[in-house]
């Protein structure tokens, strides 16, 4: 063969180009570009078969110079027939459409694709000139195949490396997770010899890994005297040896002998062949929770005891008013047992009918607004016992929100007795207060009542003495007036003292009482009227009426009432006396048209030392009506009054016939 050495150098260069690059695209680029340069061709493309589309190959460009073409398709049978010789020179494109006008040449690149060359100078692409390239193009094909294989291998290696790296990273990650997780992890072999413990477990038990490795887990971590936990662990280990995963609570001891509580989730551990090589236990340290539970149990017990012995009842309800807590004291106060109360609403049990609507509205108001005017304060209200008895209670309600749920707890105290005693005490206190007030008034009045006649007596005595000393013949009339005044005031003092003594006798029940049946009108005419300083009008008199009365006491009653009638009617009409038949009683009315007694004083007008608020400076001791009332009642009768201020007063005496 007569061969141009330059052609040989070109083939050699192209051959070397096939050896320089592992990346197929670099190989194709170097080969095509050199071929274009050396043979001054217009275009060169390495096409790759990249799958099928129907019965056609999808052809993808690996390298094109210039890069003016894109993906194309070619019928598979056309490829087979087209490349029967491995090299084809044509005036037309293999794809059936001529992109450029000129000469096309195609080399089959084994089964991976083909090389397309193009020149618009037809003379440059002839079989004769291209035949020498067959081997280097085949070499290109092999080189590309090797390159792709290498690339695939590289990809596989990269993927494997990536996978291994990922696996290592995962292992490292999981080891980190295991080491840093809050759960203690302990691995033991089938003889319970420790083979691994993570950081959390080391922290839990206080041993370092090196201190634990090779040691028997039961011996190291369970107190030898703790038979209960020894037995438990043995039993659970036996289960795991049978391939059973289990979870249980175990008490262990740490390096310093401290008791620790853990929840262990144990599982059998297998090797890659599926042989059980031991077990893995994940330990959740619940020591603190255990302590807390113990503390809480103690607290609960203590609180329950406190509530049980408390005088207050404890009642708790949910947001619907349903009772879920009912203390022993609640049973005692309300009469419902705990079984009768739990699950029922307050309205069904202890709230009186009149309070139920308010209770429901109050609950709804609180749940919608968070406001409750009766919450967190002591209120007095009534409740109902199982017997239906309504009674006073002192109630304190505390709302409690737990999560989204609302609860209410109430302390209830039965204050029936307290309230009664309080009322009694209040009454006694008021009475005492009144008595003190009366005493003050009495002392004031007595000092005034005593001082006034004594002053009069003293002044008249001095005048009489003066008259006797200064005048040889004293004026008898003047002396008589002085002596009369002295006598009157002595009498007044005497009366006053008698009244006081009488009160004392009445209080001590020492008043002589000698009743006898007699005509009342005769008694009035003979014993009462003659001793009065002024005579009342006898208005409506039944002179036939008789009653069993003590003359002295009756006379005192009538005198007192008639004298008062005149005293408190300074400018009014003459007081009147009626004597009537009252059926079972003899009714005596003493009526005046004086200043009257204010209504608010009516109830107390008969009290000792009480005087009506409108008496002003009209003299009186506040003892008269009290004595009158006591005397009437000694007779088994009673005395009432009607009075209008400014119009007058009527006292009615009812004496049994």
């Amino acid at each position: 063969m007569n061969f141009d050495p330059s052609q040989i150098t070109l083939l050699y260069e192209l051959s070397l180009a096939n050896t320089r690059h592992y990346r197929p695209i670099d190989n194709a680029r170097q080969f095509v570009n050199k071929l274009l340069s050396r043979k001054a061709l217009t275009a060169g493309i390495v096409w790759l078969f990249d799958g099928f589309q129907g019965d056609s190959f999808i052809c993808k460009i690996l390298h094109a110079m210039p890069d003016l073409r894109s993906t194309n398709v070619i019928k598979a049978d056309r490829v087979n027939s087209f490349f029967s010789d491995g090299l084809v020179v044509s005036d037309h494109s293999i794809f059936g459409k001529d992109i450029d006008k000129g000469r096309y040449a195609y080399f089959k690149l084994n089964d991976i694709g083909f090389l397309e060359l193009f020149s618009d100078d037809e003379s440059k692409l002839s079989l004769k000139s291209l035949n020498p390239l067959r081997d280097v193009v085949n070499q290109l094909a092999v080189s590309l195949e090797i390159g792709f294989s290498y690339q695939n291998l590289q990809d596989q290696i990269r993927q494997r490396e990536k996978a291994e790296k990922s696996l290592r990273a995962n292992e490292e990650k999981y080891r980190n997770i295991i080491d840093n997780v809050q759960l203690g992890l302990l691995e033991v072999d089938n003889d319970e010899i420790i083979t691994y413990a993570n950081k959390s477990f080391q922290d839990l038990v206080g041993y370092s890994l090196s201190e634990m490795l090779g040691k028997n887990a039961s011996t190291l971590l369970i107190d030898q005297d703790d038979q209960k936990n020894q037995d438990l662990l043995r039993k659970e280990n036996e289960k795991r040896m049978e391939g059973v995963s289990n979870s249980y609570e175990l008490s262990i001891k740490d390096k310093h002998g401290n008791k620790k509580w853990t929840i262990i989730s144990g599982a059998p551990n297998y090797d890659s062949k599926g042989e059980q090589i031991g077990s893995i236990g994940i330990h959740l340290d619940i020591t603190e929770q255990k302590k807390l539970i113990e503390e809480n149990v103690f607290k609960d017990t203590r609180i329950k005891k406190l509530f049980d012995i408390s005088l207050d009842a404890l009642v708790s309800i949910d947001s619907k008013g349903v009772i879920f807590e009912w203390s022993r004291q609640a049973e005692e106060i309300f009469g419902f047992t705990i079984n009768e109360a739990i699950g029922k609403t307050l309205s069904e049990t202890i709230i009186p009918v009149q309070h139920r609507e308010g209770h429901e509205k109050g609950m709804q108001h609180y749940l919608s607004t968070g406001e409750g005017p009766v919450l967190n304060k002591r209120i007095e209200i009534t409740a109902v016992r199982k017997s239906g008895e309504e009674f006073p209670i002192e109630l304190t309600i505390f709302p409690l929100k737990f999560g989204e749920k609302h609860f209410f707890t109430a302390f209830v105290r039965d204050i029936t007795e307290i309230k009664e005693s309080r009322e009694n005490m209040e009454k006694a206190l008021n009475r005492q207060r009144e008595l003190n007030e009366l005493k003050s008034k009495f002392i004031s009045m007595i000092s005034h009542e005593l001082r006034t006649p004594l002053t009069t007596i003293r002044s008249n005595t001095e005048i009489a003495n003066y008259l006797l000393e200064q005048e040889h013949t004293p004026d008898k009339d003047k002396l008589a007036r002085n002596i009369s005044r002295i006598e009157n005031n002595v009498e007044r003092l005497n009366q006053l003292i008698s009244n006081i003594l009488m009160i004392g006798k009445l209080d001590a029940g020492k008043v002589p009482f000698n009743p006898k049946k007699q005509n009342i009108f005769s008694l009035i005419k003979q014993e009462v009227l003659p001793n009065l300083s002024a005579q009342p009008k006898l208005n409506d008199i039944n002179d036939q009426l008789e009653s069993e009365v003590d003359t002295k006491l009756f006379t005192h009653v009538m005198n007192n009432l008639i004298e008062n009638a005149f005293k408190y009617s300074p400018n009014g009409k003459t007081p009147e006396v009626d004597l009537k038949d009252g059926g079972d009683t003899v009714l005596i009315k003493i009526r005046d048209y004086g200043i009257g007694i204010p209504t608010e004083d009516h109830d107390r007008i008969f009290d000792t030392f009480f005087r009506a608020s409108n008496v002003d400076n009209i003299q009186g001791t506040g003892l008269g009506l009290s004595i009158v009332k006591d005397y009437v009642e000694l007779h088994g009768g009673k005395i009432t009054l009607t009075s209008d201020v400014g119009k007058g007063t009527v006292f009615s005496i009812f004496l049994p016939k």
């Binding site: 150098t9 070109l10 260069e13 320089r20 274009l36 001054a40 217009t42 110079m65 210039p66």
Partner: protein, 359 residues
């Protein structure tokens, strides 16, 4: 149109708002290119161009000059910076069909020339003709040498696409005297080994056989300019690579890259052949009426032809006159030439004359 010893104002005075103003500047011109760009920008002139070791006009060389080529106003300028970093290339925007040809001016001392030309051909293919060359200084010192309105760059290229039709003639006339030799180890334009021996020693061994004076480090280019390398190209003259220096008497540095595992011949020039080839190139380019011309001639041809260089220009100019006697022959002396030799792959050439008849 050219201006000798111009000031910036003089250059701007001949610029046109209706054209893209291609400014071919000789390296000995005392013009501040940065300032020229600023002034042009301010005046609203579109400019692009490069710095060259020399300029040509008709039959003579122009020094201290600026040559203006008014290009169609639709001409597009595509700048690519950092051509020595192909990984930073961005895809070129598609060009409309009316752009039939392109000037390519790039940093002639950049190591990124092959990658850039591959990039251009990959995107624009053979659908248009290219002519261009390497810019820079004969001192072979890297420095900014291409520019457009956006700035003045080194290690860069500008592609000016234009609607004009270009007819090319590409020839060099250098003939094989020895080879083939395998460049088995190289890096870009630096050859380490030829035939698995020191590149310098193999080259010197062969050159010394034909040279009247021995090849030495100090006087390297003076001898080597007559003995370039040639890379085989089927049906065409070899692609020439100019060895220009040896730094260590082991390696050789060329204008333009030679890949590893490339066979090269050693070529020898003959003034008659070179001038004849220039004539052939002109005849290929000027086959019918042209509106303008452009010659990109390798600076090393002038160094080799020395006094006879004008003869080369005369034969080209004479041919130009046969198709259009009203226009002048314009050109640059370049650090490497670019053409889509014939209708094929885009190559970077050395010691070659590229003649373009522009319609």
């Amino acid at each position: 149109m050219f201006i000798q010893r111009p000031q910036i104002d003089d250059v701007l005075a001949i610029c046109s708002h209706d054209h893209l103003n291609l400014l071919l500047v000789s390296e000995d011109t005392e013009i501040d290119i940065e300032q020229l760009i600023q002034e042009a920008d301010r005046e609203g002139y579109r400019v692009a161009g490069g710095i060259f070791p020399g300029l040509l006009y008709n039959t003579g060389r122009l020094d201290h000059s600026v040559l203006l080529v008014r290009m169609d106003k639709t001409a597009k300028v595509v700048l690519q910076e950092q051509i020595s970093h192909p990984e930073r290339f961005v895809p070129l925007e598609p060009l409309a069909d009316e752009y039939q040809s392109a000037f390519v001016w790039l940093d002639g001392l950049s190591s990124g020339i092959p990658a850039y030309l591959e990039h251009v051909y990959k995107h624009y293919g053979n659908d248009r003709n290219y002519i261009g060359g390497g810019c820079g200084s004969l001192s072979l010192q890297s420095q900014p040498c291409v520019f457009d309105n956006s700035g003045f760059y080194e290690d860069a290229a500008i592609l000016i696409a234009m609607p004009n039709r270009i007819t090319l003639g590409v020839k060099h006339g250098w003939k094989k005297i020895a080879g083939p030799f395998l460049v088995n180890q190289s890096e870009g334009n630096k050859l380490d080994q030829i035939n698995w021996e020191s590149a310098f020693s193999v080259y010197k061994q062969e050159v010394d056989k034909y040279s009247t004076q021995p090849l030495t480090k100090d006087d390297f280019f003076n001898v080597a300019k007559g003995f370039p390398f040639g890379i085989f190209r089927e049906g065409y003259e070899d692609i020439v690579r100019d060895p220009i220096l040896t730094e260590d008497e082991k390696t050789l540095t060329c204008v333009g890259a030679i890949d590893s595992n490339t066979f090269v011949n050693i070529l020898k020039g003959d003034p008659y052949n070179l001038i004849d080839c220039a004539k052939e190139a002109a005849e290929a380019a000027f086959v019918e009426h042209v509106n303008s011309s452009l010659v990109v001639d390798c600076i090393s041809r002038t160094l080799f032809l020395e006094d006879r260089y004008t003869e080369e220009l005369e034969v080209v100019h004479n041919k130009l006159k046969t198709v259009n006697s009203d226009i002048g022959l314009r050109g640059v002396l370049s650090l490497g030439e670019i053409s889509s030799h014939g209708d094929g792959y885009l190559e970077f050439l050395n010691k070659t004359i590229v003649v373009a008849g522009i319609s």
